[in-house]
């Protein structure tokens, strides 16, 4: 009943509005000022719509305004600072001394939780280790053999063609051992994260002594500003003098982080040194060829470009011009 009466009233309002509109058009068409009530109605309509607009904004602010729930800085994470990595310059290779130190850090620290499954031992030969060192390191691990005559799978010492062993049997075992958090494989990590080397270096060295006041850190998580969401399951692992470098470099936290980051960049991009050299060759050869093609084109076009076309009209006026 109420709804119907309400409907009727709205119909009346619409009818009134229509009349008002007609009146307005009429008044516009003829100069006579007929309808007295229409400006009042228009004022009411304007006031009502303004009130509705303000009210809806106020309601929305009441719901979502006071606190930001999305895209807070903490959610985004602090963007990594750009560091002047030498190996990222155009004509620079990896520092292979740093790679060797970085591999030592990976082996002694990171490898307890993180796998490096896409890197075989043969990749280390000539870049980080000597053949004998790499062979000895591979032989420290056991791998499955092919099935023998009885179909049994036995164990054999590793070879250069084997890949680095993972610390856990599978992801579930890794999660179980790490309180539900899966330590990701690091083989392509430099390519897989925004900021690459800068991000990994900042993450490793960026743990503050204590989280800033008021920051919420979840149970079993650690505060790291560079990790999106700022709660990271990995605790700080690199501390000063954790590793004894064989070349006598002082193993400060940032030195270890820098070395291991460069090593991980090598793991993700082992072809970088060759790629840069090949790229340089390509640039040199193509620029020579380009210069040659430009010269040949100019040579071939020389007679066309240097010719002169002139129109000499016939001297004697044999031609009858039509009047």
């Amino acid at each position: 009943m109420f709804a119907r009466s309400g409907l009727r009233s709205t119909q009346r309002v619409f009818a009134g509005a229509r009349n008002g509109a007609i009146n307005v058009t009429k008044r516009a068409a003829s100069t006579s000022s007929g309808a007295e009530a229409s400006p009042v109605r228009l004022n009411i309509a304007a006031a009502a719509s303004t009130a509705v607009a303000i009210g809806s904004i106020a309601w929305y602010y009441h719901l979502y305004g006071p606190t930001a729930h999305a895209m807070t800085p903490a959610e985004e994470g602090l963007h990594a600072t750009k560091y002047p990595w030498v190996h990222q310059q155009w004509f620079k290779t990896f520092d292979h001394q740093a790679l060797r130190r970085g591999f030592q850090v990976y082996r002694e620290v990171c490898a307890a939780c993180h796998s490096l499954q896409r890197v075989p031992y043969r990749a280390f030969v000539g870049t980080i280790l000597t053949v004998d060192e790499a062979k000895a390191m591979a032989e420290e691990n056991e791998y499955d053999t092919e099935p023998n005559d009885q179909g049994e799978i036995e164990k054999r010492p590793g070879k250069l063609s084997d890949y680095l062993p993972a610390p856990y049997k599978n992801d579930e075992a890794a999660r179980f051992a790490n309180n539900g958090a899966l330590p990701p494989d690091l083989s392509l990590m430099v390519k897989a994260r925004h900021g690459g080397c800068d991000y990994i270096f900042s993450l490793l060295t960026g743990y503050p002594d204590e989280p800033p006041a008021g920051a919420q850190v979840g149970a079993g998580l650690n505060f790291n500003p560079y990790f999106p969401g700022t709660g990271i399951a990995m605790a700080r692992v690199l501390y000063d003098d954790l590793v004894d470098y064989e070349d006598g470099t002082r193993a400060s936290t940032s030195q270890m982080a820098k070395d291991v980051t460069e090593f991980l960049n090598w793991a993700a991009e082992p072809e970088m040194d060759d790629r840069k050299r090949t790229g340089l060759k390509v640039l040199v050869v193509t620029s020579i060829l380009f210069a040659a093609t430009v010269w040949v084109k100019r040579y071939k076009w020389a007679y066309l470009k240097s010719r002169k076309i002139a129109y000499a009209p016939p001297k004697d006026a044999n031609v009858q011009h039509r009047q």
């Binding site: 807070t72 155009w90 900042s202 800033p212 008021g214 500003p225 030195q255």
Partner: protein, 164 residues
């Protein structure tokens, strides 16, 4: 990284008076062997490093003084006490401290990062007082980010010139 770096590298490689870039591993042990690999300015880096180590304390004190002066106008007694503590710590473990932490502490107290540090300190003060009264209504993550961003950016080139 940039294009001009490569140009300067090429120029350095071509000029006869530039320093040799590849070094024997043993030579790294000498303090001057730690000069940056780029060798952009042949004689300058080694000089810079030695200057830094000797004039380090002077710089620190200057920076401390400047920030102290700034702070005096804004917040009198508490801040000075807070700033004197890290300085003492640094003197104790000058040798052992991680260069990154050292440079970043210097940067945090420098004039460059004074606004960010001011905001962060103020926020910490506000939030801790809120916490003591009963739940904090906000956190200082954003202020911390700004300060950390400023400090790391200021410390990055210095850090890379000392690390191998």
């Amino acid at each position: 990284m940039g294009f001009w770096d490569t140009i300067t590298d090429l120029v350095d490689a071509a000029t006869p008076w530039s320093t040799a870039e590849a070094e024997h591993p043993d030579s790294h042990k000498s303090p001057q062997g730690d000069a940056p690999l780029g060798g952009n300015a042949p004689a300058a880096p080694a000089k810079e490093i030695s200057d830094e180590t000797t004039a380090e304390t002077d710089k620190e004190e200057k920076a401390e003084d400047e920030t102290a002066e700034v702070k005096k106008n804004e917040e009198p007694a508490e801040e000075e006490e807070a700033e004197e503590e890290p300085e003492e710590e640094e003197e104790e473990e000058e040798e052992e401290q991680d260069p990154k932490d050292k440079f970043e502490d210097d940067c945090k107290n420098s004039k460059q990062c004074a606004p960010a540090k001011h905001h962060y300190d103020e926020c910490v003060e506000r939030v801790t007082s809120q916490e003591s009264e009963g739940g904090a209504k906000e956190d200082c993550v954003e202020e911390f980010f700004h300060l950390a961003h400023c400090a790391t950016q200021c410390a990055a080139p210095k850090l890379w010139s000392t690390l191998k």
